[in-house]
C-alpha cells in the first residue's frame, strides 16, 4: 500500500530545510536516537531536504513525520515541527 503523500507539506518542508537561514533545533531525545543509529545532523538534514511528509499529527505543535534517506541511502524517518514564518525546524525524533 502506498504511503500517503502530503504534497503541500513536503514542499514547505523542503523549502525551509533548503533555506540557509533555517535553524535546526534538536531535542535531546532526537540526539540520543541519532547516536544510537549512527546518524549525524547531516543525515537528518539530507532526509528533510529530499524526503517526503507521510504523516500529519496535531499535538502541542503540528508534527510531521518525514520519510527520507540518509546520505548512504539508508531509510530514515524524522518527526519534526516546522515553523514556516520564522524559518525553523524542531527535530523531535529520528528513527
Amino acid at each position: 500500500m502506498a504511503l500517503p503523500h502530503y504534497v503541500t507539506e513536503t514542499q514547505i518542508l523542503r523549502k525551509i530545510a533548503c533555506d540557509p537561514k533555517c535553524s535546526l533545533r534538536f531535542t535531546t531525545h532526537a540526539l540520543k536516537e541519532m547516536v544510537a543509529d549512527g546518524w549525524t545532523a547531516d543525515d537528518v538534514q539530507h532526509a528533510l531536504m529530499h524526503g517526503q511528509v507521510v504523516l500529519h499529527e496535531q499535538k502541542q505543535d503540528v508534527l510531521w513525520r518525514v520519510e527520507g534517506m540518509d546520505i548512504d541511502g539508508g531509510r530514515i524517518r524524522v518527526v519534526v515541527a516546522v515553523y514556516e514564518l520564522i524559518i525553523r525546524i524542531k527535530v523531535i525524533t529520528a528513527f
Binding site: 535553524s23 534538536f26 531535542t27 540526539l31 545532523a41 547531516d42 502541542q60 548512504d72 514564518l85 524542531k90
Partner: protein
C-alpha cells in the same frame, strides 16, 4: 516601562547581520522569536524576561553527535527549554561547523580511523562510490568500504590524498581554519594506537568568532584558537 520599550529603535535583520558579530544568527533567531511573543503578549519586557529564562548559550558543548568527528564548541551551542518542557540544542552555522571540524581533523597528524573517514565522506555529501571515484579512478568502492569498517588499513598515500580532497572541498566553508595544501604535504602522520591501543584523539576545539575577509566584510567563522 512600556513606553520605554516602544522607544527602542527598530533593527532590521539585514542591519543585524552587519552590526552583530559573535551571535549574529542566534540574534536573528532570537529577534524573530521575540517578535512572535511580543505580538502575542504586547509586552516586550515580559517577552525578554521569558526568553532569558528559557534560553542560554552553553560555555562548552560536545558537538560530536552533530558532526560525527570529535568536536567541542565553546560559547556557541544554544540550549532552550521549549514551551512543552522539552530541551533543545541548536548550533549556529552548522554546515560551517561540519566543514571546520573536518578540515581541523585533516590537519591533525594522527592516522585517520574508519569512522572518521566515514564522517568526512558524509560531510562532503559523497557516497562510497563517489569518494572512490574522486580519490582515484582505480580505487574500488569496496576498498573505501573496507577503510571505513577498518577491515583494511588505508595506505599513507591514499590517506594524504583523502585529507587533501577533504580540505580542498570544504575550505570555503571553513575560513577560520588556517590551511594550505603544503600543510598536508608536510604532514608527518603518526599512529599512536600502535603503542597505546586506548589512545583518544583530541577533539577539535572551535569558537565562533568574527573574521574579516579579504574583501573587508566581517563574517562569523568557526575558529580553532580562542582570541582574547
Amino acid at each position: 516601562m512600556k513606553k520605554h520599550a516602544d522607544e527602542r529603535p527598530e533593527v532590521s535583520k539585514e542591519e543585524l547581520r552587519v552590526l552583530d558579530g559573535q551571535h549574529r544568527r542566534a540574534k536573528v533567531v532570537e529577534l524573530s522569536a521575540l517578535a512572535e511573543i511580543k505580538r502575542a503578549t504586547g509586552d516586550l519586557e515580559r517577552a525578554e524576561a521569558k526568553l532569558k529564562q528559557v534560553e542560554r548559550t552553553l560555555a562548552k558543548y560536545d558537538a560530536t553527535v552533530f558532526v560525527g568527528l570529535r568536536t567541542v564548541v565553546y560559547n556557541a551551542a544554544i540550549e532552550r527549554v521549549e514551551e512543552d518542557g522539552e530541551t533543545t540544542i541548536e548550533l549556529p552555522k552548522l554546515p560551517e561547523l561540519l566543514a571546520s571540524a573536518a578540515v581541523s581533523r585533516c590537519l591533525l597528524p594522527v592516522r585517520l580511523r574508519g569512522p572518521e573517514i566515514r564522517a568526512m565522506r558524509r560531510i562532503m555529501k559523497l557516497t562510497l562510490a563517489d569518494l572512490a571515484k574522486r580519490l582515484d579512478e582505480k580505487t574500488a568502492t569496496e576498498t573505501v568500504s573496507r577503510w571505513e569498517s577498518e577491515a583494511q588499513p588505508m595506505g599513507g598515500y591514499a590517506e594524504k590524498l583523502l585529507r587533501l580532497l577533504v580540505c580542498e572541498e570544504l575550505r570555503e566553508n571553513a575560513p577560520g581554519i588556517e590551511y594550505n595544501a603544503s600543510m598536508i604535504a608536510n604532514l608527518k602522520v603518526r599512529d599512536p594506537w600502535r603503542v597505546e591501543p586506548n589512545y583518544e584523539i583530541p577533539p577539535a576545539e572551535l569558537w565562533l568568532l568574527p573574521l574579516k575577509e579579504r574583501s573587508g566584510t566581517i563574517i562569523e567563522a568557526w575558529n580553532e584558537k580562542k582570541v582574547a
